[in-house]
């Protein structure tokens, strides 16, 4: 049987090369070719022309990035949102520890199921929901406030810094239940003997939470923290696009939205690409830096 195989078959692994090749080409086409598209940031880009026909401008657009005041506004908004996120990054962990203290498995599962739901709806729907809750005329929250004789709220049109807090709340509403899951899974993986040993030593509930559960979750927490540091400048597009309107625009113009407006709306492709490049490079640097720092301080790293 083996002999026949050697005689006439295609080269060894031929079919494997075909199978992996098709997929790898797709990866190149959809991930690495766009990366090569970074080169347009160095040219006065005109659609339809080849690079030879376009004027090479070097770092012109990169220098422009730092001169434009609107970039600094976008950077400020991005950093504020990331800062709020980082400052509350411990929330899912603490929520998970608390939820784990509830004895009834059924109740726990019920809470998990219901609080995870918002993670699975699109940002368009999230906006629809917050609109339905906070619309000044018919929103549920305002209906309740009115019926109690209280002044109504209108966070959807808030020009002030409160808009950032509102957006933080929206993001947390969507993601908190989901973020809890990874910690709950980690808690489930903690060796039960540790708890039993602690019980024998007379440790109470809070002592166990503090000295067993929390330290066991630290690795997960710091890993996720390092990753989120790498994502500081990538606040995402959807949320800010959906919630921005003439009133909230100034506070919600994050870098991703800025890139969209400059590039796709105003056809300022080269400039927008330069902003995107700077963003990605800073993100990678932060990720590597945070990782090195964690390696030094805690002796753990993610890569």
């Amino acid at each position: 049987m083996l002999k026949r195989k050697e005689g006439w078959r295609l080269p060894r692994f031929f079919s494997l090369y075909v199978m992996s090749g098709i997929c790898f080409i797709a990866i190149i086409l959809f991930n690495y070719v766009p990366l090569a598209g970074w080169s347009i940031a160095f040219f006065r880009y005109r659609p339809g022309l080849s690079f030879a026909q376009m004027e090479f401008v070097g770092f012109f657009y990169f220098l422009q990035v730092f001169r434009l005041p609107t970039v600094w506004n976008a950077l400020r908004n991005t950093l504020v949102m990331a800062g709020l996120g980082l400052a509350t990054s411990w929330l899912p962990m603490v929520f998970a520890i608390l939820l784990n203290e509830i004895r009834s498995t059924k109740y726990k599962r019920f809470i998990q199921t219901t609080t995870t739901l918002p993670n699975f709806i699109s940002w368009v729907l999230v906006y629809a929901i917050f609109f339905a809750m906070f619309a000044s005329r018919d929103g549920m929250v305002n209906n309740v406030l009115r019926s109690l004789g209280l002044p109504i709220v209108n966070p959807l049109a808030n020009r002030g810094p409160g808009q950032w807090v509102f957006q933080w709340f929206v993001g947390t509403w969507k993601g908190l239940g989901w973020s809890m899951i990874i910690y709950l899974a980690s808690i489930a993986g903690i060796d039960q003997e540790q708890y039993e040993a602690a019980s024998i030593d007379g440790a109470g509930r809070f002592a166990k939470m503090r000295y067993i559960t929390l330290p066991n979750l630290a690795i997960t927490y710091f890993t996720l923290l390092i990753i989120s540091i790498g994502w500081i400048l990538a606040s995402g597009f959807d949320q800010y696009f959906m919630f921005s309107n003439p009133m909230t625009r100034e506070r919600l113009m994050v870098l991703d939205l800025f890139i969209y407006e400059q590039g796709i709306v105003r056809h300022n492709f080269a400039f927008a690409t330069a902003v995107g490049m700077i963003r990605t490079v800073i993100g990678l640097t932060l990720l590597t830096g945070a990782n090195l720092f964690s390696k030094k301080i805690r002796g753990t790293s993610i890569f």
Binding site: M19, F24, I27, G37, I121, I182, A272
Partner: protein, 298 residues
């Protein structure tokens, strides 16, 4: 675990229970409100009478929405991209992941590293936009399906799972003269169903929720997704509200339009969220599996 329950312990349990009950309400009440507004009389909604239960039951807004031109097509497009996109993602990610478990293959390490690398560096919106246009994928259904077919995340997930399958299964088939594709298709795919189901669920939800590709690159109304349809209804009402504030058009007309719009918007949102709600109970068991394998590797 046996534990001595003190009074403080008990109080703590109750407090925690109540705390999470509140959290649960915050997450679910908005959905409930959407539903009751969608089946209430818009006039009652406008008077502020609809808070906890529907008033003046009517399904008229569903009729209004479902007879809008284009909605049936948008529903079809979203369903089509969900089905086709998920099939593509599962099949090609699994096939690539399988080849990545064949350590004897040349260039395997190179290809795998390049794949993982895509998680750290992404080109960003503008180059992606221009390149997709250069591929002529704008105004094409394939834009919804092809770019996301193979993602590093899914490949890692499936590869990790396949590596845990005993190699003897594969080896015996190889000795029997089966080709690699046949082994993948007949043996490895069926054995990987648990992880493929996880990938499929996440991919399907992602496809259903996706609208950015449509928004950026597809202007053909025949290819409009349901999410974009909803977005346009949401923003259209906002434009009307601005119109009313700025006094363009008669105020009476604008008020009438905005008033019904709120209900129409909400009803539309309910229609878009229903499919998610329907698959949601089945998704539960795949959550933790997906997130844990991802965490170990990532």
């Amino acid at each position: 675990m046996t534990q001595i329950r003190t009074k403080g312990d008990r109080a703590f349990s109750i407090t925690a229970g109540l705390f999470f009950f509140l959290f649960m309400l915050i997450c679910t009440i908005p959905f409930y409100y959407l539903v009751i507004v969608s089946i209430s009389d818009a006039a009652e909604v406008q008077r502020g009478n609809v808070v906890w239960r529907p008033v003046g039951f009517t399904l008229d807004y569903y009729r209004q929405i479902l007879t809008r031109p284009g909605i049936a097509n948008a529903f079809f497009i979203s369903t089509a991209r969900t089905v086709v996109g998920t099939l593509f993602t599962v099949f090609f990610s699994a096939m690539f992941a399988y080849t990545m478990t064949q350590y004897k293959m040349k260039f395997r390490k190179f290809m795998y590293r390049m794949t993982v690398g895509t998680m750290y560096v992404s080109a960003g919106l503008i180059p992606w936009f221009l390149v997709m246009r250069a591929y002529n994928l704008n105004n094409s259904f394939w834009l919804y399906v092809l770019p996301g077919a193979i993602s590093a995340w899914n490949v890692i997930l499936i590869k990790t799972y396949m590596e845990s399958i005993p190699p003897s299964m594969e080896e015996s088939a190889l000795i029997d003269g089966a080709g690699y594709f046949k082994i993948f298709y007949r043996i490895m795919m069926p054995l990987s169903i648990p992880i493929l189901a996880t990938v499929a669920i996440f991919s399907a939800v992602g496809q259903w929720n996706s609208w950015q590709d449509n928004f950026f690159l597809v202007s053909d109304p025949a290819l409009k997704t349901i999410q974009l349809f909803l977005m346009e209804i949401l923003l259209e009402a906002e434009a009307l509200a601005v119109m009313m504030r700025t006094g363009l058009g008669t105020a009476e007309f604008a008020r009438a339009r905005v008033m019904t719009s709120f209900t129409v918007q909400v009803t539309m949102a309910v229609i878009v969220v229903i499919p998610i709600m329907m698959v949601y109970p089945f998704m539960q068991r795949y959550f933790v599996k997906g997130i844990m394998i991802g965490a170990v590797k990532g």
